[in-house]
């Protein structure tokens, strides 16, 4: 059951200050309406993960990690690997996050990121069969929000994309007779094959203004948001409207324009962070050899 949430209270003085500044095209932290906060991407952050990334966007901090396991393919795609995305809003990250299974917000975030990766075939799942029809790689992408200061979807998407780029596929030994596959943890056969880079740009409506990358206080004043996934080729790879307010046709049109114009900046951040792993230019090069 989805229930109208109680919105976080923002002191009226602060709310008025935010709204008055927006009317003049300014933000409370001196940014422009369509300006992101400082972004830090640290790739390969967790030594034990096959791939990982830490992202800080202003005071929002997100950690994404990838573990690879050998498993069975889905019956409708017997020669493809499997991608599974989960997100957790840990209680350490905000006084409003409770321990327990993921709530609707965490589930929505994970599913938006899952679709944004799946539809444009970001991970080349067709190259992840070990024994076609029987054994394939299961790519577990888990996202943990460490500190919530707004714009969790974009920060999580950035961390997810960077984590996938840093992912190395372990070496496996296949027993010819039994068909048993053993993973040799710590030995790697190559990088996870990636077809293209994708980012999300979430545009928030605050009053009648459209902004990107709000802080938690700004987000609390926002009635609706539109997340737009954009590929490095400039295609729209997914969308999600959320929030209790509406968007007009013109606002949707404008939000998509903003998303298309901001996406290269975020793609650039990921590319730059992955330079050491995927080579100059950070192009989404495939793994050398596949099991």
């Amino acid at each position: 059951m989805s229930i109208t949430p109680e919105l976080p209270l923002i002191p009226r003085l602060k709310a008025n200050a935010i709204m008055n500044l927006l009317a003049r095209g300014q933000r409370i932290d001196k940014r422009k309406l369509e300006e992101y906060r400082d972004i830090e991407v640290r790739i390969g952050y967790i030594p034990n993960a096959e791939g990982s990334a830490y992202v800080r966007m202003g005071n929002t901090q997100v950690l994404a990690g990838v573990k690879l396991e050998v498993g069975q393919p889905y019956s409708d795609a017997p020669n493809e690997g499997v991608l599974i995305v989960n997100a957790e809003f840990i209680p350490a990250a905000s006084p409003s996050f409770e321990p327990g299974p993921p709530d609707e917000n965490a589930i929505e975030l994970a599913r938006v990121i899952d679709r944004s990766l799946r539809e444009p075939r970001v991970v080349a799942l067709d190259k992840l069969a070990i024994i076609p029809g029987k054994k394939v790689w299961i790519v577990w992408l888990d996202i943990y929000v460490l500190d919530h200061d707004g714009n969790l979807i974009d920060a999580s998407m950035l961390a997810s994309m960077a984590a996938l780029l840093s992912t190395r596929v372990p070496t496996v030994a296949v027993d010819k007779e039994s068909g048993e596959v053993t993973v040799k943890r710590g030995e790697f056969q190559g990088l996870l094959p990636i077809n293209r880079l994708v980012t999300t740009v979430t545009v928030y409506k605050i009053g009648n203004y459209l902004v990107v990358d709000p802080t938690q206080e700004e987000e609390a004043l926002s009635g609706a948001r539109l997340t737009v996934a954009v590929t490095e080729e400039g295609l729209i790879a997914g969308m999600q409207k959320a929030g209790m307010d509406y968007l007009s046709d013109a606002e949707v049109e404008r939000a998509v324009e903003i998303a298309l114009s901001k996406a290269p900046l975020l793609i650039g951040k990921i590319r730059e962070a992955a330079k050491g792993i995927r080579g100059e230019g950070g192009e989404a090069s495939n793994a050398g050899k596949q099991g």
């Binding site: 795609a77 599913r111 539809e119 067709d126 509406y246």
Partner: protein, 244 residues
């Protein structure tokens, strides 16, 4: 999901779709309100073989009182698929998809309902998919909005929804399950057509910016047609026949 079996041809040489429709044609739509006796409002909506039942209870006193809000009614919404509504049995346990869709549908209806008129109460919306053949969430929004009206709950406008898609490179209206499964994109949209307000917008798939604009326009045109049907069915039930 990856390729499933063999992909059928979705658009034939005359430009017709797999079920014979033109690209901008809706499936046959049926709507009925007041189909349940106990609910304060209810509706059954059929888009072809997609059948959805919606029931509304409220505004009513909340069971755990602390869940209410002092300045408005709380909307509680559940979208669910019956176990036999799909080809493979759907486990009755709530799936992640159902959790997400319950939220997306609630947020599609929130902007329409005048919740400020009923502080400290709840309005409960139950959406049950009886038979799924593509576009269940948008049929669900359409049915829920009719059920809210049937319950006499004041709204700014009705909410109507439809999914557009891209199949074999063509942008089409009101996609069915086969078009959803084998097509390139699925974009559900819901709006308050009288006010030009979009309350639900999702895209699952890849579109160029121009294809997106074409799709959104087509969806809004389809929504206006569905909206006229909603108004007609409500008028049929509630229009007072004056005598003398």
């Amino acid at each position: 999901m990856g390729a499933v079996g063999e992909k059928p041809r979705l658009i034939d040489e005359s430009g017709r779709r797999i079920d014979g429709r033109r690209p901008d044609e809706l499936r046959p739509i049926e709507m009925e309100v007041g189909v349940l006796k106990n609910a304060d409002g209810s509706a059954l909506v059929k888009f072809g073989d997609t059948w959805v039942l919606a029931a509304v209870y409220g505004p009513r006193e909340a069971v755990p009182k602390h869940m209410t809000l002092p300045e408005r009614a709380v909307i509680r919404c559940r979208y669910r698929m019956l176990s036999f509504s799909t080809h493979e049995r759907k486990s009755p346990a709530p799936s992640r998809r159902e959790v997400e869709l319950s939220k997306v549908i609630r947020e599609a209806l929130e902007p329409a309902v005048l919740t400020e008129l009923y502080p400290r109460t709840t309005i409960d919306i139950f959406i049950e998919v009886l038979n799924a053949h593509g576009g269940t969430r948008t049929a669900g929004v359409t049915a829920a909005s009719l059920a809210l009206a049937d319950a006499g709950i004041p709204m700014r406008d009705l909410v109507a929804g439809v999914a557009v898609g891209k199949v074999d490179g063509v942008i089409v209206l009101d996609i069915n399950e086969i078009e959803d499964m084998y097509g390139e994109a699925d974009m559900p949209v819901a709006a308050m057509p009288g006010l030009g307000r979009i309350t639900l917008l999702q895209l699952n798939g890849v579109l160029s910016p121009n294809e997106f604009r074409t799709g959104l326009k087509m969806a809004m045109e389809g929504i206006r047609r569905i909206y006229e049907m909603q108004k007609k069915v409500l008028r049929q039930k509630y229009a007072v026949i004056e005598e003398e």
